[in-house]
Every structure is written in structure tokens, then in C-alpha cells.
């Protein structure tokens, strides 16, 4: 019991964080009931929960969940891979950066939402167009961070490699690339969250399945509780993917933050 108390004194958020959630949900429920807010404006938490459980049990949410997940994961993988490979090429050949980077930036400033309808026309209403949209959104943060990361190698590391007669390629493989990995993961973390947005935007523009498609359907039928249930699934999906990227990061970039001792006062 005293152990528990000590733990709470050290990390009060363990108790405070769930408490905030409980208070928020309780307040929400009370407000909806107390003020008699109609369910088509704001549904009560209990109605959302019913819609969530019902949707999962009937299999409807599960089915659309898998469609969106596939779009996110395939689009993210494609976009991140292209971003990384392009970043590496740019890092290897500075001339390439000066030549094509302005065009990449120009493409990036183009709102993807605006080109989504074109992509749907080109690639159809199926999963393919969503993968393409997701990939175009996910690729830039990975590209930009890979380029920055490859430049981040300290001068003395390069001097060290050169002193031992390393070739350009060896310097790249043994120093610059590992040095860039922490940056690449920052890019991946941003990209995975953008990938979820990309898939939903694609589904909004034109689709026959997926959680974005389902949101439009339920919106049309004024099923607010059902929409909120999907939002919960989407945010859980985002959190799950973010944690996944972080878990991979900790394994790959193991030398960063390996110590548990915090700097005092920091």
C-alpha cells in the first residue's frame, strides 16, 4: 500500500490522467442528459459506446477498419520507402538535390486534398487510389528528414573515417546513414499520422468501403453516435501506429536515450 503511495507521489499522472478522462466523460454524459441535447447534435458517451460495441459485434466496423488499415499501411509503406530512397539518392548526389528539390517542394505545397479527386479518377474508387493519396502525403516528411539526417554527420566523424582511408560509399554506409536514422524516424512518425488522414481524405472523395466511407454514410443518416464510434477507432488506430513506429525506433536507433538517468533540472 505504501509502495503504491510512493509510486503515485513520483508519477501522479498515473492517477490524474484516467481521472481527467472519467470526469470528462461523466460531465459530457450529464450535460447531454441534463440539457436534453438531441442525439443528432451531440450523442451521449453511452450511445457512442453502444454504437461502438454494436458495430464491432455486427462486423461492420471491423470490415471497414481493415479496408482503411490496408490503405494506411500500404500507402505509408510505399510513400515512406520512396521518400527514404529519394532522400538517400539526394544525400549521395548533391547535384540531384539542387536539380529536383525545387520541384519536390513545389509538389509538396500543392494541397493533396485538392488533387485527391484527380487521383480517384485516375486510379478508380477502389483501394488503389487511397494508397496513392496516402503515399503522396506520407512521403515528404520522410524525404525531408532523411536529407537533413544525412547532413547531420559531425565533421570529426567524417575526418575519422577518411583518416582510416574510408571510401565515399563507406563513409555513407558506416557514418552518415546510421547518423541519419534518428531523423528518419522523426519523419516516419509524422508520416504515419498523415497516412491515416490521407486514407480518410481519399475515402471522402470517392470510395465504396473504409471508415471514411462509413463516416459519410452515417453522417447522411444523422447517426452521430455511429460517427463518434468511428472517430474513436480512428484515434486508436493512430495511437497504435504511432506506438508501433516508436517500438521499431527503439530497436533500430537503440543508442539514443539508452540511459534511464535523467539530467537533473532538465
Amino acid at each position: 500500500m505504501s509502495r503504491m503511495r510512493a509510486l503515485l507521489r513520483r508519477r501522479p499522472e498515473i492517477l490524474l490522467s484516467p481521472l481527467v478522462f472519467v470526469l470528462f466523460v461523466a460531465g459530457w454524459e450529464a450535460a447531454v442528459r441534463g440539457f436534453g441535447i438531441p442525439a443528432i447534435v451531440i450523442p451521449s458517451p453511452s450511445a457512442v459506446l453502444r454504437a461502438l460495441v454494436g458495430g464491432i459485434l455486427s462486423g461492420e466496423l471491423v470490415e471497414h477498419f481493415w479496408v482503411t488499415s490496408a490503405e494506411v499501411i500500404l500507402g505509408f509503406t510505399a510513400g515512406a520507402s520512396i521518400g527514404f530512397v529519394l532522400g538517400v539518392l539526394v544525400g549521395l548526389f548533391p547535384l540531384l538535390e539542387r536539380t529536383i528539390y525545387p520541384y519536390i517542394v513545389a509538389f509538396q505545397t500543392l494541397p493533396k486534398v485538392a488533387i485527391a479527386p484527380i487521383i480517384v479518377i485516375w486510379f478508380g474508387y477502389g483501394i488503389e487510389s487511397k494508397i496513392v493519396i496516402t503515399a503522396t502525403i506520407a512521403f515528404f516528411p520522410v524525404l525531408a528528414n532523411t536529407i537533413v539526417g544525412l547532413r547531420a554527420v559531425p565533421r570529426d566523424q567524417v575526418e575519422l573515417m577518411v583518416a582510416f582511408t574510408a571510401s565515399r560509399w563507406q563513409i555513407f554506409r558506416m557514418a552518415r546513414l546510421p547518423q541519419a536514422l534518428p531523423y528518419v524516424f522523426v519523419g516516419l512518425d509524422v508520416a504515419i499520422v498523415l497516412a491515416v488522414i490521407g486514407a480518410i481524405v481519399g475515402e471522402f472523395v470517392g470510395s465504396q468501403a473504409g471508415l471514411g466511407y462509413l463516416i459519410l454514410q452515417r453522417n447522411f443518416h444523422m447517426d452521430m453516435a455511429g460517427v463518434f464510434a468511428i472517430l474513436i477507432i480512428l484515434s486508436l488506430m493512430g495511437i497504435g501506429l504511432h506506438l508501433l513506429v516508436n517500438a521499431v525506433q527503439r530497436r533500430v536507433v537503440f543508442w539514443i536515450g539508452s540511459t534511464h538517468d535523467r539530467v537533473m533540472g532538465a
Partner: protein
């Protein structure tokens, strides 16, 4: 400096040791162009010779161009003018047969201690098995056995520096260039490492150039001490150390040793230099 042009010495050293002068520097100048566009003269008219098998130390106040000189000899920094030759050939790039210790440890944080020590072997694609045995032996020598699988982030500054020293020795180079290798060590460890380095040098007949801030260390180790002064960095004296070998720590208290210290110190006092 580009990595394309480089003189690669033959891996086997005997050709070197037969030559009278392994390194010759003549009228060597180095000017750095700073980011604000000014020129900093780091080396002015530096000239000296180093015979194969010789142990030369370099002392001088901070900023007098010691690291600059070492980097030029290591073939990682281009000189501005003058000539430097290694085994008769102009230095246009790094050589396989040179081991370098930098002023900072410069370890790769994603490689463990053993992997860091093996870096030159990996780069130069030398046979690993033999080198790894040598790496482990050298780590034991510098008091780091048991730390082979630790990562640089888990080591103290002095331990990291010792890993850097081991890395410079692992491919058994004929020429060793060391930039304040013992700067981060406590006095006791430092003396031990001095003796250990002398032992390695005696056994393997390497040619060593070692930069230090410590006048006694410079004398204790060296056949000759190059004394430098700053602004612009130049050689003010080259001192022959006539103390007998093998050296032991008791010699530090000898009268002859004291005379050498006094002579070098006099140079610094005339400069009004703060350190050394």
C-alpha cells in the same frame, strides 16, 4: 580534402623503416578561411624531419596549430603551401599504414567498444579473426577488458579516449599520429598509459608523433620534442631528449629531465602563454 586522390602505402612496413626520413615537412603553411571571410594562419613556415622509428612529441600552447599539423600529416587536411612527404611521396591523402588518435574520442555511438576498435579493419577490409584477437588484447592493455560489448554512451570520457587509442593501434600501423591522447585521463592512468605506449613502441618499432599539453609527458616519451608557438603557429625549438632508454618514472626527478623542462618552459614564458 577529397577522398579520391590518396597515396596508399603498402600494408607491409619494411620499406619504410629502411628510409632515413619517414616524414619531411618543408616550408609548410596552412591558412584557414573562416566563415566571416578572414584568414587565420594556423601554420607558418613549418619544417622538420622524422626518422622511421622515431618518437617525436609536439608541445605548444592552445591554438598554435598542433592539431592542424597532425591532420595534414594524416592526409585529411590539405596544406596551403609547402611540401610534406611520407616515405618520399607527397601526402595527398590518408594512408592505410597510419593510425590516428583524435583530440576528441570520436566513437561511433551505434558501434560497441569492440566494433569501434575494429573500425579500421572493417574500412580496410583486413582479415578479421586475427585483428579481433589483437583488438581484445589491446583493450585488456588499456584496462578495458570486460567492456567489449558496452556502447560509447555508457563509458566515461577517459574510457572513450582509451577506446580511440586502441582503435588507432588495431591495424598495427607503422606511423602513429596521436593528438593529446591522454588528455582526458587522470594522472595515474596517464603515467601507466605512457609506459604502455613506450612498451608498444619499443616492441613494434613504430614511428610516433604525439601532441600533448604536458611538458613532462612530452619529454618523458620523446626522442625529440617539437616546441611550437602560436599566432602564427610555428616551430620555435626542436629539442633532443638525451635521456637513456628504456625510461622509467624515476627519471622524471633527474636533474637532466629538469633541465629539459626548464628549457621548454622558458620558451613559453617568453611568449607569456597561459597554459602548458
Amino acid at each position: 580534402m577529397g577522398t579520391e586522390a590518396r597515396t596508399v602505402l603498402p600494408a607491409e612496413a619494411p620499406a619504410l623503416s629502411g628510409l632515413p626520413a619517414l616524414i619531411t615537412a618543408r616550408a609548410l603553411n596552412k591558412v584557414y578561411r573562416t566563415q566571416t571571410g578572414e584568414d587565420v594562419v594556423a601554420l607558418r613556415d613549418v619544417g622538420f624531419e622524422m626518422r622511421a622509428g622515431e618518437f617525436v612529441t609536439v608541445v605548444g600552447p592552445s591554438g598554435c596549430g598542433k592539431s592542424t599539423l597532425l591532420k595534414i600529416l594524416a592526409g585529411i587536411l590539405a596544406r596551403s603551401s609547402g611540401s610534406v612527404t611520407l616515405a618520399g611521396r607527397p601526402i595527398e591523402g590518408p594512408s592505410r599504414d597510419v593510425g590516428v588518435v583524435f583530440q576528441a574520442p570520436v566513437l561511433l555511438p551505434w558501434r560497441n567498444v569492440l566494433q569501434n576498435v575494429m573500425l579500421p579493419i572493417d574500412i580496410q577490409k583486413r582479415p578479421r579473426a586475427e585483428a579481433e584477437a589483437r583488438a581484445r588484447a589491446l583493450l585488456r592493455l588499456v584496462g578495458l577488458s570486460g567492456f567489449e560489448t558496452k556502447y560509447p554512451g555508457e563509458l566515461s570520457g577517459g574510457m572513450q579516449q582509451r577506446v580511440g587509442i586502441t582503435r588507432a593501434l588495431v591495424h598495427d600501423p607503422a606511423l602513429l599520429l596521436m593528438d593529446e591522447p591522454f588528455g582526458a585521463l587522470d594522472a595515474m592512468t596517464r603515467e601507466q598509459m605512457n609506459l604502455e605506449l613506450l612498451r608498444i613502441w619499443t616492441e613494434s618499432r613504430k614511428t610516433v608523433m604525439l601532441v600533448t599539453h604536458s611538458i613532462p609527458e612530452a619529454i618523458f616519451l620523446a626522442d625529440r620534442v617539437i616546441v611550437m608557438s602560436p599566432r602564427p603557429g610555428r616551430i620555435t625549438d626542436i629539442l633532443d631528449v638525451d635521456l637513456p632508454r628504456p625510461r622509467d618514472l624515476a627519471m622524471i626527478n633527474s636533474a637532466r629531465f629538469g633541465e629539459h623542462v626548464a628549457r621548454i618552459r622558458a620558451h613559453f614564458q617568453s611568449l607569456g602563454a597561459l597554459d602548458a
